[in-house]
Amino acid sequence: MRFKMYGSFRCRMVLLLLFLLLDCNFSNCLADTSSEATTHTNNWAVLVCTSRFWFNYRHMANTLSLYRTVKRLGIPDERIILMLADDMACNARNKYPAQVFNNENHKLNLYGDNVEVDYRGYEVTVENFFRVLTGRHENAVPRSKRLLSDEGSHILLYMTGHGGDEFLKFQDSEELQSHDLADAVKQMKEKRRFKELLIMVDTCQAATLFSQLQSPGVLAIGSSMKGENSYSHHLDSDVGVSVVDRFTFYTLGFFERLNMYNNDSLISLFSSYNPSMLMSTAYYRTDLYQRHLEEVPVTNFFGSVMEMIHTDSAYSLLSRKESFRVEIKMSADKSVPDKKRLMDNPSDLDQISELNIEDQHGALKRIWSTIQKEMEKVEDVDAFVSYGLVLIVPLLAVSMWLTW
């Protein structure tokens, strides 16, 4: 323990010294370029279900329903990180194998064709969750498991499971604490990994989870306040467990009538929650968020409306003589017998090459023209080829002799 501390102490001192000098050097650089307003360029969704076991069916159904919604509204799989225990669909207790429902009418199978789970089973840990948020992965982790957001990204972070006062239970064995979440978000903001972040939590005492947040640009909504529980919506007597939570159920109800083109605002979503129907108070905090909720369309977080700029004109790199060069080069790349064909039209080539040589600039073209001239000098292609082959045979023999 002592050795470790000594080593780390020394290293820290070196680092601190470097940083002090660095700060002096670069703070001036920072002063000028710090105030750039970034534009929203892409959308990400991180959907986390922190429970496992059959009786927590509804948490997985919550997450999968939201996954389906954001996909329908346009966020592609490559920008969704889905973390699920994924032990429902093929659970031995599931009467409908490979199907997950969020309603007792069974109209919608959430576990359809296109579900791409990035972290499944025991990979859903607090450590991995923080690695996703902060971006600190081992080198070998594939791109699909990384949150590759940048300073123009809007991120939707949805978490559901069992929670309590200032914590969220992960897979029945660990806890995610609110100050750790706040710290991770702070690091994300420092590293400019998002422009705006919407945190949506559906657990008991959800609002306490984001009580410690301090980074600007973060909007958070929870399904219940401190001291309140969040309840499930209904029990599916066929499947045998509750299939969806109230907060998520009403959220989905709001989104089902929307498509990509709608621009309903966030305030309409947030005010659609009725405390008596939810049996809890959906609390949201906007103190860290600069924009007015009336002006923010829900597709800013739940969909993926990309900023597009029209291309005014093509960039004409090639002029007419260049296109000739391209054709000649391509025909030369073909196999040996074609060389004969090339030589059969010497007059045409001569004319073209003369035109080219006069107007050309660039060493490559000069080299090409000299090669062309050399080729034209060779009268008999067949003899040329056979000489080459004859040369190869002794070389082969020598190399074989050397290796034995």
């Binding site: 470790k4 780390s8 820290r12 601190l16 940083f19 000098l21 660095l22 002096c24 050097n25 670069f26 001036n28 650089c29 920072l30 002063a31 000028d32 370029t33 750039e36 970034t38 534009t39 360029t41 892409n42 996909k71 346009g74 966020i75 592609p76 799989d77 490559e78 296109n114 923080f130 690695r131 600190r136 081992e138 982790v141 791109r143 990384r146 590759l148 940048d150 300073e151 123009g152 604490q177 710290d183 690091q187 420092e190 400019r192 990509m260 083109y261 993926s304 900023e307 597009m308 700029i309 029209h310 291309t311 005014d312 004109s313 093509a314 960039y315 004409s316 790199l317 002029s319 391209v326």
Partner: protein, 492 residues
């Protein structure tokens, strides 16, 4: 050490300019010094205050040469004399832009930005910016106008790259944190039942793309991939227009065009965790929507049929010729896109690529004192544009490196019990060394090498910040420790 190199200015590069006036025989009052000072004053008026990072430092050094029938006169206070050969512009034919460009490159060359003003007989004044680092203005131009034009070209074009504020925003810097870009080219057949198209990507890669990739070597390490996809409809709608006799989609539909559900674009194997992938999509519509044209807000039909999304890539809609569908045969029509069509498509791709880097895709600069036409380079970017990109990217990379290392230092200071591995310390040191190297190269005016070192600095800083080992302890809070150990103490 570093303390010796503390500067108080934002990162500015030294630039050298020269102006050459030819054929102003009738004005004996035009001395090089007077012209030099008037150009300087104009330039100072045009530069934004305070100067933006990545632009030229404000103590401009301008060398002026006046080439007239009496001989050449140059400004006197120069360390290096101009390489201009007197009387060499006499026989030049100014209608052939490429030829003039080549001739000027041979005679001027080097890292000095030059403007040649030629007083000719033609009434109409033409300004052309070449592929290297020089521009020329031809026509019946007065002295004042010549000075204004030269100053404008120097500041607005050569220093600022043809953009207004001279600064490229972060959304036009598509280089990944490891200094790499993966260009992913995708040919999308939206309905293979109608027709299936293939393309000869190999030839395009060798002939058209490799010079561009080589040109951008100092800015980013680019690799290219391509794939052909099938069954990829778009998710927005289009309507039939009788006047145009084609299906029209407008700019309002653009944000919804990319159908992320069906377009599986991000399947790159080569891209590392921190590279940036740019998707270039060539979309072939189905027979039901052929031909598909883009209508701009002013009612015109787009000439390119393409659009980009910053930091993501670009889409071009290519309509098969005459939208012919062989309705008798059962099998889908298999065709290859012809070379000419492919080249046209790639010209649009080049335009889009330039847009993604923050430059304009067209060849014209419209300024206060007139329009200049910009010559196109077969490498996709002219030398002066590459200079602008190198400067801006150096600036951006160093800024990013500084903020990353700053965040890392704050993190280290806020978690006293965290064990920092020596490897991280080494990476920080190398990053700082690279950053210092970049700054020194910048002060010498070596744009390319400073861009490369700044990329290295940013990469190392990001490596240090995102080192996986920092993870394991950063969320280990004091309360947790206290709770666990006090419980242990109490139970034992």
């Amino acid at each position: 050490m570093l303390s010796a190199q503390i500067e108080s200015n934002p990162l500015l590069f030294p630039c050298h300019f020269q102006a050459i006036f030819v054929g102003f025989d009738s004005k004996p009052s035009m001395t090089p010094d007077a012209l030099g000072s008037s150009i300087l004053s104009q330039m100072t008026k045009l530069t934004s205050k305070p100067p933006q990072c990545g632009t030229c430092s404000t103590n401009y050094s301008i060398a002026v040469t006046v080439d007239s029938s009496l001989g050449c006169i140059q400004t006197r206070n120069l360390e290096d004399t101009s390489s201009w050969r007197c009387g060499s512009m006499g026989t030049t034919d100014f209608s052939d832009d490429e030829g003039v460009d080549k001739a000027l490159a041979d005679s001027l060359g080097g890292k000095v930005y030059s403007v040649v003003v030629v007083h000719g007989d033609r009434e109409e004044v033409r300004a052309v910016v070449g592929k290297y680092r020089h521009a020329w203005v031809v026509g019946r131009v007065s002295e004042a106008e010549a000075v204004a034009r030269a100053a404008e070209i120097f500041v607005k074009v050569f220093v600022n790259g043809g953009k207004e504020e001279g600064l490229i925003h972060g959304e036009f810097m598509p280089v990944g944190a490891d200094g790499k870009i993966v260009l992913s080219f995708n040919l999308l057949n939206s309905d293979p039942q109608d027709w299936v198209y293939d393309w000869d990507f190999q030839s395009i890669d060798e002939t058209l793309l490799s010079p561009v990739i080589e040109a951008l070597e100092s800015v980013a390490n680019i690799s290219v991939e391509s794939q052909v996809l099938y069954h990829t409809p778009k998710s927005s709608f289009s309507h039939w227009d009788d006047e145009q006799e084609s299906y029209i989609f407008s700019t309002k539909d653009l944000p919804f065009f990319v159908n992320s559900n069906e377009w599986h674009l991000d399947t790159s194997i080569a891209a590392g965790g921190r590279s940036k992938i740019l998707q270039i999509v060539v979309y072939i519509p189905s027979a039901r929507e052929c031909p598909l044209l883009l209508q701009l807000p002013n009612g015109e039909i787009s000439k390119t049929n393409g659009f980009i999304s910053p930091m993501w890539g670009g889409v071009i809609v290519w309509n098969p010729k005459d939208c012919l569908k062989d309705s008798e045969s059962q099998h889908p029509l298999r065709r290859t896109i012809s070379q000419q069509d492919l080249q046209k498509v790639f010209e649009v791709v080049m335009g889009q690529f330039r847009q993604l880097f923050g430059l304009k895709s067209n060849n014209v600069y419209v300024g206060a004192s007139g329009t200049s036409s910009l010559l196109a380079s077969e490498r996709g970017f002219t030398e002066w544009e590459l200079d602008v990109l190198s400067r801006q990217h150096t600036c951006f990379n160093l800024h990013s490196c500084a903020t990353t290392l700053g965040s890392l230092s704050r993190l280290v200071q806020s978690l006293p019990r965290m064990i920092i591995m020596d490897e991280i310390g080494k990476q920080v040191m190398y990053s700082l060394e690279a950053a210092t190297l970049a700054r020194s190269n910048a002060s010498l005016g070596l744009y390319d090498s400073s861009a490369v070192s700044s990329r290295q600095a940013r990469y190392l800083a990001e490596d240090a910040f995102f080192h996986p080992s920092i993870m394991s302890v950063s969320y280990y809070s004091f309360e947790h420790c206290f709770a666990v150990y006090s419980f242990r103490c109490m139970s034992s």
